[in-house]
Symmetry: C2
Subunit: 435 residues, 2 copies
């Protein structure tokens, strides 16, 4: 057996503690797979007095994370998250020729191009399986498993907080605000939930997946996002009656027109696996021209699942230390010299099917006026559902459109809003059929 | 860019043609990922006159497959299947120091230990992603993606023919014989369906997955199999009413008592992803102690999906040619010197929940007599369903038992069969809850 692989761990939060625990619990099997033992020898902690749910004996603790980079370790694991000082720490590790494993999706998505270039220049491995979808080895699948394919699209439930909230809204008929409050009480959502419910976290992950799938540099700024707060309880109910579930999806597609990178609440046909992925689970659908549709499901967050990904990367590192860098899998799957920035489409330019919900006065001629506007704009109605008004309430109309350019959908909405019997509360959500 | 990787292809059937097509269609992306072009330069065909659905220009065709091994190629792709001459061809390639990619599950499952030992001795890569579950990169997932985990169980729909037949039986209420006949007409089942419907094909695949999951040599002979023919249309219907779907699963589990390797029709709770995987799809559930449950779904057979796996292996080979073998991922995930044969359990020794179906005369005291026998053997009834007799037919009784040793279940069945009002047509199927 080779020498021990000495790990320097920056950050002993949920994931860091998970890494220490799993490395200890599964030490023997991990050594049998990696060809050497993998041992955390140094770690940095912000608050050394805090109780931690793992055995830290044998680990030198440092207050200064840079001391971990400078310690006698073979590889750095960065788990503090955020841009700074994570970026400086990783840069320092690379400069010292030390491979890096990170779970930092924000950093990879926003600064990955420069960080990966630096790693490449030094011939140093930089691995980030844990940055996306926790324990699902989706980066390895895209980067090494589906490499024969021209991947034309991927779509995934990649934010557990959103999926938990939508699952609760669906199961209990709750409003978004009530489900969010429950999620916060249970620790599934942060006190400031913006990052999750506005789609920024999913956008980070989507940018990473799209780069690897399509062979383009990280283009986080091009991800279009739409938050969960616009989903109302009645939309979930109407979608169900039309045969759909509402999920917050990260979607990447490419066509001759360009690349779409978008995160938004989406109607998904109820018989698709993505529609059936509930709670805190993640699921990702990948479509390639050889393999067809494949789907990957698992826990997307938490100490142990994320540690599973971090340690898989460490095992790859353990095996490749000392190898010529030409034997490495390129960080984004494609050779760095072949990555090409691709033109991306804004929401206004995408094509999609849409779900429209209108509240209308219960008068004769309403349906004819609405369908006339849609027909004039060459928008076909794939499904329609009108709910009887109760008492003197307005009637509710839900429509699934054909695939149309979004600007045309919005034009139709503008015209519909001008109708005297259409109330201001209009909802528009995108629909994916995964044909 | 490095030199071209020259591929010698043995076998130009469905998968071989798929490999030629996908390598041509996706040539540019594959080269960008592999760091070099991958080109089939030589191929062997049994019948050169047969029309093939791919462009063979530029490929030297040989009648003798050994001529491909001896040609000026960098890697051999073996796609003829079966034990001989595939084994001799692969041995010859290894002896010449040429890496091998194969889709041959029978050969790897039955002769893998010696073949992998020979490859190791020569420092030659031998890859077989295509041997299991077509386009789903499940071998890479187990061997490299979930390596942090102690994997305690896996279960999968890994035979598309069985899944197609069961899906048809479920959708149409067909008998096994009728659904099989339809599958044969449509080309989803062979004229001699034994290999698929008796679980031998799935047993090959399960033996490979279990080795990689558990770190043991290939133990194909230890796989217990039970065929599909014992499933009757009424079992499918009763299972549905009890909240289950019947799927043919390959199951590998390990515990302190030993390893279970088994293929058999199985009742799966209707809300589990495996229950929802229909038609010719494959799906595999893996449970690890860090990651929890993960599930992988995709097309399990066919030219293009299988070619996807073959070419992914070729890209790995392209990257690793010339590397020291200590940088290779071990063929079975664990270092070869750490593989340990594990004791395996026969069907009689496993523990499981069971579905029992009895036809009984519609007399007073029947239910009491049956439940008394079960209680005496300490078998709890988790669910029970009695169907009213129509006209003067017997009543049908379906029972889901608690988890019990199979020998005790069979003892109960023997005692039940002795009851005067129990008819000889008794059915017993295993139930998995994936707790």
């Amino acid at each position: 057996m080779n020498e021990v692989l000495k790990v320097g761990l920056i950050g002993l939060g949920t994931v860091g503690q998970g890494v220490v625990r799993v490395l200890a619990t599964n030490a023997e099997e991990i050594a049998q797979r990696a060809g050497r033992r993998i041992v955390v020898t140094d770690a940095s902690v912000r608050d050394a007095s805090r109780a931690r749910d793992c055995d830290l004996s044998g680990i030198r603790l440092h207050a200064d994370p840079f001391a971990v980079v400078n310690a006698d370790v073979d590889v750095i694991v960065e788990l503090i998250g955020g841009i700074s000082p994570a970026q400086e720490l990783i840069a320092a590790a690379i400069a010292r020729g030390k491979p890096v494993v990170t779970a930092n999706k924000a950093l990879i998505a926003e600064r990955g191009n420069e960080i990966l270039a630096a790693a490449r220049a030094q011939g140093v491995l930089l691995a980030f399986e844990a940055a996306v979808a926790g324990g699902i080895p989706i980066i390895k699948v895209l980067r090494e498993g589906l490499t024969a394919n021209h991947i034309d699209s991927l779509a995934g439930i990649i934010n557990g907080t959103c999926n938990y909230i939508l699952t609760q809204m669906t199961a209990k008929g709750q409003s978004f605000a009530a489900a969010l409050a429950d999620a916060q009480k249970l620790g599934y959502a942060e006190a400031d939930p913006t990052f999750d419910v506005e789609g920024i976290d999913a956008a980070h992950k989507l940018a990473i997946l799209a780069s690897i799938a399509f062979g383009m540099p990280l283009q986080f700024a091009a991800v279009a996002t739409e938050g969960l707060s616009k989903v109302q309880a009645q939309d979930i109910q109407l979608a169900r009656e039309l045969g759909y579930r509402i999920k917050s999806l990260g979607i990447a597609k490419r066509s001759a027109r360009g690349v779409e990178l978008r995160v938004h609440p989406t109607l998904v046909p109820e018989d698709h696996l993505l529609a059936k992925t509930d709670g805190a689970l993640n699921a990702i659908r990948v479509h390639g021209n050889a393999v067809g549709q494949t789907v990957y499901v698992g826990r997307g967050a938490g100490g142990e699942p994320t540690a599973s990904a971090v340690i898989a990367d460490l095992i790859d590192v353990a095996r490749l230390v000392g190898a010529d860098a030409r034997h490495f899998v390129p960080a984004l799957g494609f050779g760095a010299d072949t990555l090409r920035a691709l033109p991306t489409l804004a929401f206004a330019d995408i094509e999609s099917a849409y779900y429209l919900r209108l509240q209308v006065a219960d008068e004769p001629g309403v349906l004819r006026a609405i369908t006339s506007i849609l027909a004039e704009l060459d928008i076909s109605v794939e499904a329609i559902l009108q709910k009887e008004p109760r008492d003197d309430e307005d009637a509710t109309l839900a429509i699934i459109s054909s695939e149309i350019p979004e600007h045309r959908c919005d034009l139709a909405l503008a015209k519909l809003r001008e109708l005297p019997f259409v109330r201001p509360d209009v909802s528009r959500l995108r629909v994916e059929h995964f044909a």
